[in-house]
Every structure is written in structure tokens, then in C-alpha cells.
Amino acid sequence: MQPIPFETLVDLAEGRIAAAQATALRARVAMDREAAAMLASLEELLGLMRSDDSVDAPEHMIQRAARLMRQPAPAAPGVLQRVIAVLRNDSWTTARLAAGLRSVQAWPRALLLSAGEHELDLQIVPHGEHWQIQGQVLGPEGPGTAVLSNDGERYAAALNELGEFALAAVAAGRYTLAVRQGTIEIIVNDLEVGPSSQPS
């Protein structure tokens, strides 16, 4: 039996062959294991392409993700750059918007803040009557420290090699968080920790 040409199999997979002729051809293909496997592969491939209605992610999303590893502008040696963090995302707000509810207070609460070329990922986790702040600096890596303070109290933690840190659990209240990494210091002002915690 003559092998079935690849182009004929493509025509069959693509549906370019008239019904009666296609039926006869398929019967022939069924008796040829190699042709049957090739036809199945072609049909799957064409099906995947024809049904692919995916679209590119919006450019601003891609650029935002790309910035996660952008190097900071070089600072003069020894000069500390202090950057005020801006809230980009709050899981409570996101959940509230999505659910159309008045209030959603699921724990842990996740906050994403931008600070120049860095992003700061924070989680506020309840611990009994207290709350713990865990976080990660995203961007250029390096050792550093995180310091949470308010009037008279100061709690510090070191950043690990991934820029992660976990502070001691603290009482509810309004704090300032300063995360220092190299010559950059990210400041989160008025971080309200507690049942209605949110940075202003």
C-alpha cells in the first residue's frame, strides 16, 4: 500500500477534503499506524491553534513585573536614599471590590507597596492580641534591616538573602516601617496595625 503523503494528511486534518473522499481516506489511515498517529498529531496541533484565543497581558502589567529586577539609579557612595512607599494593592480592598461587599477582613492581610525601583510585599498576621508584620523587599537583593517604630517603641529584624523579614508581634497601633537595604531606605508612614490596619 502506498504511504499517504503528509500534505494529504494535512488537508484531511484541516478539513479541506470533501466528505465522501475524507471518509474513504480515514478508512485508509486507520489501517496505517504511522499515518494514524501523524493525523492525530496534526489534528491536535491545528485544534490547539484554532482554539487559542489568548491575548497578551496589558503592557503596564508586563512593565510593572519587569521593574521587579530593575537596578536602582546609582547613588553617591555612602549617601542614603530615602524613598516613601506608596500603597499599590491591599488584599482587603481587592477582595471588597471583587466581592462587592462593604467590608472584607480576611487574614493575613497582604499589602503591596511601591518605592522607586523596589516593591515591598507586606503581610499583617494576627497573633492572639497582637499582630506580626512579615515582608519581602522585591528588587535588587542584599542584606538589610527592617525597623518598626512608634513613640517609644522600636522593633528590628534582619532581611535574609531573599529580602524577607519577620518582625516581632506588636500591639495594635500606628507605626512607621523603615526597611533599609544598602543605600536605600524605604519608608512606610502611618502603618496602622490591627483590626482595621491600613497605611494612610
Binding site: 503528509f6 487559542d52 497578551d56
Partner: protein, 186 residues
Amino acid sequence: MRADDDATLLRACRDGDAEAWELLVRRYQRLIYAIARRSGLSEELAGEVFQRVCMSLLKYLPSIEQPERLGAWLATTTRRETWRLLRQENRVPGATTDEEEAQLVMDNAPLPDEVFERIERQATVRRALGEIDERCRTLLTLLFYRAEPAPYSEIAAAIGVPEGSIGPTRARCLQKLQRALEKYDW
């Protein structure tokens, strides 16, 4: 644009190469976004998942040991982050351990397994399509990525060949695509 494979890009990313990082993000952006959107998330929430997945990739760059499985890792991570976001909205059950969460992600994923796998395979086909020559890429795109296939006359004009040669050229281009797919364990 650099055409480095994933292993090369991952190594460069570990060395802090921001260009390599952006290439990786761009290479997989459609896959991540498709899974999030097909799971029913709005553009805004899909954007949140997109960012979380990229953060996870950045976090786990040093520990990714199988670069050839990066696409599958990202797809699974996207599915998990989508589930976590829905969990925050109380739209899916909660978990107390990583193992329990992994099972719940599988059991309660907003995207059925077959759809999830189909998106992954579609992404692989697009990836392979990007690796074959431009003429074949144009031909196959016009024929198979449109709601209505382009007529042969339009394809012939687009790639500069006689209309009569589109049939055989199409078959050769599909063979090239199949060969390009072989390295992805197709």
C-alpha cells in the same frame, strides 16, 4: 531580541540581569494572563495574580532546578495564586497546610484540568511558532490563528509566493513547527 533558552535566561536572572528578567516575563506573560483570565478573574485581579506570580518567580529563581519545566512551574504557580486570591474572597475553601492547600487547589481550581492543560499546550505551540522562520510563522498565523482562515490569495501576497504553492508550503511549515515542538516533549 535575545533568543536565549530558559536555562540561559534563568542563569542571567540569578546574576541580576534585568534584561534577561524582562525577556522571561515577556516570554511567559500570555500564559500567566490566560490562566488568570480563563479562571474568571477580572483584568484587575488577573493583574494582581500576574504580579504575584512574577514575584514568586523572582523569589524562587535560585531554587529552580529544571529550567525546561519553567512553563509548567509558572502555570501551576498561576493556578495556585489564582486560588489564593479567590480564597481571600472566600469563594473557595481554606487550607491549613501546604499539602492541604495543594490538594484544594487541584480539587477547587476554577479552571478544569483539561482547560488548564490546553492553555499550557497552546502556550507551548506559540513558543515553538516563535522559533520557526518568519515566513512560516506568518503563514500558519494567517491560516490557523484567525477566527476565519485567511484566503490563500491573501497569504500568498503576505509571504510573497504564488498562490498555488501555499498548500505544499503550509505542509512544510507544519513539519517545521512539529520539529520545533519536539524539544518541548511534545
